[in-house]
């Protein structure tokens, strides 16, 4: 019973924080501490954002960015999860691939932008390839870790009770690997959005990023530019929240998610 007031008080504090920071920015810009040419006051950015929403302009680019993100993450998961299960299931494959994976993982995916543009052009295909490539590594590695960490006693017990390999995979291995997989997806989601916006800003693939650069090059439309940046941030924030909520729903049974408010 104590929980509810505590949570709503946290919300209230957070709301106060958002309002406070916005008001502070307004003051800082109005007094000239922060030049208006660099950062228009929030009282101009927020109406510009409202206009984009009211005119329905927001949803086309938002959908394009989201489309690339969804397709890229799905492609990464479709390849990364089965491969991760395969690699993680046997000690030999794990040892065989560990060095290669540890080497490939820190490679910045944006390094492939020029090559991807050359091979795939500058539209959706290129964007999806980049996102899939960047998201593939966290998904793969977390799946490998998760499968590798499955309690061997549980697996052996299941085998002793006569469960076939498929049943062991579905009943034991995958559920125990799920929290790792969720972490992988969360990392992949953040990288995926970064790569989506990068391919839009750098290469000009259609989406939110293009609107940001368009507003910048239009000149005198800084408020519109920040309105689109706000949209990109809200998208990232919403994706993050949605994944967290999904994680908590799917994994409510797991010890690391039981109990505790946060």
């Amino acid at each position: 019973m104590q929980l509810i007031p505590a949570i709503s008080r946290g919300r209230g504090l957070g709301l106060a924080g958002v309002v406070g920071v916005t008001a502070l920015l307004e003051v800082v810009v109005r007094t000239g501490l922060l030049p208006q040419a660099w950062f228009p006051p929030p009282s101009r950015i927020l109406p510009a954002f409202g206009e984009i929403v009211a005119a329905g302009e927001l949803f086309g680019p938002l959908g394009q960015t989201l489309q690339g993100w969804v397709l890229g993450i799905l492609a990464a998961a479709a390849v990364g999860v089965p491969l991760g299960v395969l690699i993680g299931s046997w000690p030999l494959t794990h040892r065989l691939t560990r060095f290669t994976l540890e080497f490939l993982r820190p490679i910045p995916p944006v390094a492939l932008i020029p090559a991807a543009v050359l091979i795939f052009g500058s539209d959706l295909e290129m964007k999806v390839f980049l996102i899939a490539f960047g998201a593939f590594w966290p998904v793969l590695l977390q799946t490998v870790y998760g499968v590798h960490d499955v309690d061997p006693t549980a697996r052996d017990a299941a085998r002793c009770y006569g469960l076939g390999p498929r049943a062991v995979l579905v009943r034991i291995t995958l559920p125990s690997a799920l929290p790792h997989l969720a972490t992988g997806l969360r990392i992949a989601s953040a990288i995926g959005l970064i790569l989506a916006v990068t391919s839009e800003i750098v290469v000009g693939a259609p989406g939110l990023g293009v609107r940001i650069t368009d507003a910048q090059s239009a000149g005198g439309a800084e408020d519109v530019m920040y309105a689109w940046i706000l949209a990109a941030g809200l998208l990232g924030w919403a994706l993050n929240g949605a994944l967290h909520a999904a994680e908590r729903r799917v994994l409510h049974w797991h010890p690391s998610y039981r109990g505790g408010v946060r």
Binding site: L13, I212, N240
Partner: protein, 262 residues
Amino acid sequence: MIRARLADAALALALPVLLLAAYDGWARTAGNFFFPPLSEIGATFAAEWLFTRVPTDLLPSVGRMLAGYALAVAIGVALGTLLGLSRTLSRALDPVLQFLRALPPPALIPVSLLVFGAGDGAKVFLIVLGAVWPVLLNTVDGVRGVDATALDMARSYRVPAHARLTRLILPAALPRILAGARTALAIAIILMVVSELVGADNGVGYTVQLAQRGFDIPEMWAGTVLLGLLGFGCNAIFVAVERRVLHWHLAVTGRATHARRP
């Protein structure tokens, strides 16, 4: 013991050698314009990056990355400690910080160009803006997670505030801070490359893009390989430093702390 090590190393190296050989064999017979054989990429790499372009392109890239990263870590730790010490403040600002962290940093490229023009400043600024959030948020978490009993004890023994900070709070928060710093490093490298793909006149990313525009495919791949090596190298250095700095923590817990919020 030595035999087992050798077997391990042979196993680890088998896959990369196999993959590279397979690629080379395929590239030689396929003759695909976009995928030249390894020997060609290697020769270009040696000619360009050993060491003709090191002072003109590699060093500026690495310099900007390190400057941005160092600033991001310094700012993130300082602000994160301040926020972490105040429960109310950190809770009030949490939504704002979550939003800023979820905002894909490349969306701020137009802002960096607006404020700093096309010079080094814009690139360092972008790297700071992208890399500071994981450090800041993890520092807040780390500082707030300091054992309350230890804090109370230090207070009742009248340990002065600055000693409490440097002897108790910061060391206790260090594993978490470093976890944030590791995430920030990956972001800094991504942003180093991205910032050089837009409005740059030197740097490794710039070279790769220039080669792509001139259809100089071996040079494009040579630069891409260098970016990969750079990512791998930075990560390896970070892990080595972390292991040294945190040896006491590793000795106690037996593992590194992972960023709660990647």
